[in-house]
Amino acid sequence: MSEVQVIGPQALPALQQQVEAVLAEAARQGASACEVAVSLGQGLSASVRQGEVETVEFNRDQGFGITLYVGQRKGSASTSATGEAAIRETVAAALAIARHASEDESAGLADAALMARELPELDLYHPWTISPEQAIELALESEAAAFASDARIKNADGSSLNTHQGCRVYGNSQGFVGGYASTRHSLSCVMIAEDGGQMQRDYWYDVSRQGELLADPASIGRRAAERAVSRLGSRPVPTCEVPVLFAAELAGGLFGHFLAAISGGNLYRHSSFLEGALGEQLFPSWLTLDERPHLPRGLGSASFDGDGLATYAKPFVAGGELVSYVLGTYSGRKLGMPSTANSGGVHNLFVSHGSEDQQALLKRMGRGLLVTELMGQGLNLVTGDYSRGAAGFWVENGELQFPVQEVTIAGNLRDMFKQIVAVGSDLELRSNIRSGSVLIERMTVAGS
């Protein structure tokens, strides 16, 4: 079997040339401004189940997307095709759209003066020259450890190792061009536990820019097994109002909802319950939310945003107060505010936390629900109303009593944010949002 061939920094000059060729073609065809992103990626994915190989997938993706302007009119086009003809046709397609779009006074590239000048090295590229056989071995090792760890682990839903390397170059007609190579590797394990006629599934995974930093495969398998087994005997609890502890791996989702609610796109569309909330005390006064875009090897790290602006470290929430929205060039113009260099999103969000780990937070909670799984999309961003399916554990006197399933937890995000009692020190490091477990004073749990 062949090893995955390497796509790395050496591919950047060719992609940069492609960006320049597209910009030149857009100008030639009559666009007044243009931006383009070119990407090239390659990966290997191996999955196993019950000790046998299930799939080996080789991925290779390429493509480019352009947005161009004719005055204040805008059009976009993208393709996976390559070559001069593809460039010509894609530019023409975007231009044809731009000619029919409406004048939009907020449209257009960011000012040239705001474009990133120096791009810090973020150490995002760590290729893993792993053969399909080695990838299979790691996935098998993870699954085998899961099966060995508990007799109630009777089935598996698959363990897989994924490795991906890619390059992306963005450039625009304001003179900015920047690019980087990056890698991302992950190992996951999904196990099924059976006992007393009940079947439960759970999983665990790790992800890293650097293959060698992934958790030991056996530990991932054992954790998946432990989680699946711990759910056996799950049952609903009677409907009640109690404190709810969101396990760290889910807590990032709460702050993800918050970021969506303060993002420019939802604000100017009047689609957020936090429209006009700038300066308000939304969280307890000890809570801060910081963006740190230049974290070396960070999963969300980026030196420039989707508009070519230099990213920078800043708080969105300081002392519990909303001090900045999440804005790109366009949404900033719509709201009459400068861009916060967040076109395309937030790059590594850090949630402030105390010194208590999850165990200590359970003690602090006393009686309530520890949530370890959420289901469904029950969030209304316009009103902040939140209602989702949940599973986890019933807690009395700070100790887990029994696993819980088939319940919902509901509240309003505005209240939930205010009622954050504590954030744990058990940080989730596998996500763009780094948060510990989050204890919320009171939510409605609906059950039997």
Partner: protein, 485 residues
Amino acid sequence: MSDMLLSVSEHLLAPGGLSIEQLPSVLGDLAGPGIDAADLYFQSQVSETWALEDGIVKEGSFNLDQGVGVRAQSGEKTGFAYSNMISADALRQAAQAARSIARAGQSGRVQAFSSPLLTPLYAPNNPLDVLDRAEKVELLKRIDVATRALDPRIKQVSVSLAGVWDRVLVAAVDGSLGADIRPLVRFNVSVIVEQNGRRERGGHGGGGRTDYRYFLERDERGEERAMGYAREALRQALVNLDAIAAPAGSMPVVMGAGWSGVLLHEAVGHGLEGDFNRKGSSAYSGRIGERVASSLCTIVDDGTLAGRRGSLSMDDEGIGTQCTTLIENGVLKGYIQDKLNARLMGVAPTGNGRRESYAHLPMPRMTNTYMLAGQSDPEEIIRSVKKGIYCANLGGGQVDITSGKFVFSTSEAYLIEDGKITAPVKGATLIGNGPEAMSRVSMVGNDLALDSGVGTCGKDGQSVPVGVGQPTLKIDAITVGGTGA
């Protein structure tokens, strides 16, 4: 060779110097020792989106994607590779990678090609071309202006139009050779309303395997269909302005006809996909012939409905689609299958092998999943409930097929008090267990309706268009996740 095959192969293969006659030799390379099955999936897709907000058409995008996916299977093992280039060289490289999973075994042989006779369920023409750009822009603007004129409480209107034109060709070692040309269009309206400082959103839309003229046709009420979507989006938003907190706890729930079929998609459909059942990981595994729902429930997956969003003339493995009975009078009858899982389970494929694109592996997926009509008058169903919830419209849903737990969230729901629909309630998530909830279906209406054509199903990171439907039905007890009493 059919016209469809000729035209698709001319478009997909010829530019790279390939022809159908050369495919057996590529498949021959794939079908070496140890390979039980292998196929090539060529695809070219053009798509576009036009979006209006703030009264102006500010976004339009066009995408062209094409490539070939090459798959080889040995027992339960699958090797897969794909390429954006459709050429002999690219095919050879992808084939080499894909067949690397085979170790040893009997020698493979390529069967002579034969194409299934397919019933055309949609026109092969490019749906993007029936309106020119100016007409598309004009349509969006017209609907925006007419919607804003409907009610002074409207704060924001977003309208979008999207179209896809897919051309696919499948050739397999087992002799399957098929081509399909698939149009798909969608129109959506989202409205934000405000009253006394309170804001709510409503959204509606529709579409199918047809072209944009569908949105200009008259609907059942004699109104231009696109405008009908806008009126419905506004109606839902206004209803929600008066919504009170939904109750919390277990209670009877009446599900409205149509889009509420999301219930069946989550509570039943996913759990009956062949892959989960072969692996024994579904709450429905090994239960064929058993009662898994009340005797009032007959549920089918039907890919053969003309023009429907979830319909396909053939699936992505070259098998003609069919209407598969999943549950008949409450008894589990069968699973939905792709070729791999059908082979491993020793049953026939059901035409449900679907993939998001050439860059993804096929899996058993639903097409249009719905429950057949029952006997009850919908009003009689409402009247039978002392205290409960009526779900008129839903948002999305999700299922854990292993434990059988599923959720869906309401986007338009009401209290039922003493047999009458009363106050609207805020969106809430409902949670239940598939087989349990289906066995508590105590009344089924005579008003079967299918959804308007906007459903997208996600599985293992792959999205495919699907349809759902059901008559009004009553579940005696299910948990409602509100915050009220």
